[in-house]
Symmetry: C2
Subunit: 112 residues, 2 copies
């Protein structure tokens, strides 16, 4: 039985969370978990190699963002949403970022 380590939420640092969420694939994983709830690794992998995804899940786990639970042969991932939100209020909304501008072409606009 694979036993995953998950840091207690109090030990999770902002830095680790920022770092975990700075990768586009990981951010997408987390957004899906936030929107559609727990999913196994395969469901979240699109066409990417398993070893790649396994690495990303590990980064997310170690950062305290995601919890992985082995259920028979599949491992289901879930966002540690309530815990994260109590540790860093607002973080879940930021992850979802509903207000994100699309397309971001005009990011080039000059200000000052």
């Amino acid at each position: 039985m694979v036993r995953y380590e998950h840091p207690p939420i109090s030990a999770v640092s902002a830095r680790d969370v920022f770092q975990a969420l700075s990768d586009p694939i990981r951010l997408e994983i987390v957004r899906r978990l936030a929107r559609r709830g727990a999913q196994n690794c395969a469901e979240l992998s699109d066409a990417r190699p398993r070893s790649t995804m396994s690495h990303h899940f590990k980064v997310l786990r170690d950062a305290g963002v995601v919890r992985t639970l082995a259920q028979g042969t599949e491992h289901i991932n879930s966002l540690r949403g309530d815990e994260l939100e109590s540790r860093f209020p607002g973080i879940v909304a930021m992850i979802l970022d509903e207000n994100e501008e699309r397309p971001k072409a005009d990011a080039a606009a000059l200000v000052r």
Copy 2:
């Protein structure tokens, strides 16, 4: 006169902010700005080479986290705190992360 570009806050993405704050030096810069207000580049540089710091300021500016204003020969940096906070409520507290556990040795504690 150097003219810095700053993206409008509406064009700032969560991803870019996460990425900008994922570096320990940049996070430290931002924490100092949040705590002690605007400062010029030199004050924030500790003993690091200017070219290195210049790079970090650029990343922070491009991500929409910091604003740089040329004032004579020095360039003063400030956190875009209110703007960031309205775009991503809670982000400033997360940056400051007052509840951060120190030391984080016990992060190794096993849960589940």
